[in-house]
Symmetry: C3
Subunit: 137 residues, 3 copies
């Protein structure tokens, strides 16, 4: 069995942002030397997500608006009694989930034609990490 | 380490549909020869999900209505400026998530008594693929 | 390759409850002897979730209220024609997802500073199981 661990860091200019990280994950898979296995791509923060969907700007704007509809930024969360102001970012993280698992087949990410891996930032403007953990043979 | 990869194809008659794929995944696990490991079951499309829940028709209808309430089919998504009409299918995919990871113990899927694996189609009536990727020993 | 399987049982006093299980998972990882690998933590029931987020009581109350807003307990679900009364617990399970995958690096759970693993019970007051399945080297 082989394993490979890589940490990616993102520091988005906007508080909420969506970054296509498919190439970084593909590169980590190549570095791993794994031919058959699994690549976990997982945010190490509780106010950011990793998801797979389309690299289409209109859809990304739709996703952002939808997340705000279902998990709105509002002052009246109990979490804000701690001095924080980002409860909505936690809820958005839970809605999109913080991780995906990508199969590796014959040394490549085994994704469908339209599947792109995204880092979704909900409380950015500071360095935040994503772990890529690959195991296989 | 052993690995096994299998692609399942679904072509649902209805645009939205829910297909119990537990037996197909169990068969892939058996073919793999893996006694202890993990089976990733992951949609290769961005308008379909894989989830685990109950094989009960009333609940499946409840899930379908709930998805439509939270991620409704509507004309006014920005994604539709590309000519597409399926933005809601992308949002439903994100809500249910596109993959599950099933443990394999003593050569069998290690599921709870009521856990069934479902393929959820949100933009069907064409062939679409699910990858089953198994690793273990 | 090494593997290790452990079943945790929870019997919450309240119907809905949130239990921090990070220490139990860390202990299972230690028992496994795995230095580099993955730990799947997965509810074996379809009315409970496993998620990663903050160990902050205010936020947990916010999450509970948010789940009730998006997947409310109501009498009029079709699932209830079977005699059940817990359709909302199924929907809450789908919203939060029933599993997380935790990387193990140098023999420890490789979590971010604020990431805590929670068992979320939506239909408790009876014994329910979570599987921890670890594979690695």
């Amino acid at each position: 069995m082989k394993s490979h661990t890589k940490y990616l860091t993102f520091n988005t200019r906007k508080r909420r942002d969506y970054v296509n990280i498919t190439e970084e994950v593909a590169q980590a898979a190549e570095e791993s030397g794994v031919r058959e296995g699994l690549a976990l791509v997982s945010a190490m923060h509780i106010t950011a997500s990793v998801y797979i969907n389309d690299a289409e700007d209109g859809l990304i704007a739709d996703i952002d608006k939808w997340l705000e509809d279902l998990a709105p930024a509002r002052p009246d969360y109990l979490h804000h009694h701690t001095g924080e102001d980002n409860a909505d970012a936690h809820l958005k993280n839970l809605l999109l989930h913080h991780q995906v698992l990508v199969p590796i087949t014959r040394g490549k990410l085994d994704l469908g034609a339209w599947q792109q891996i995204y880092y979704a930032e909900f409380d950015g403007q500071r360095p935040k990490r994503v772990i890529v953990k690959i195991i296989g043979e």
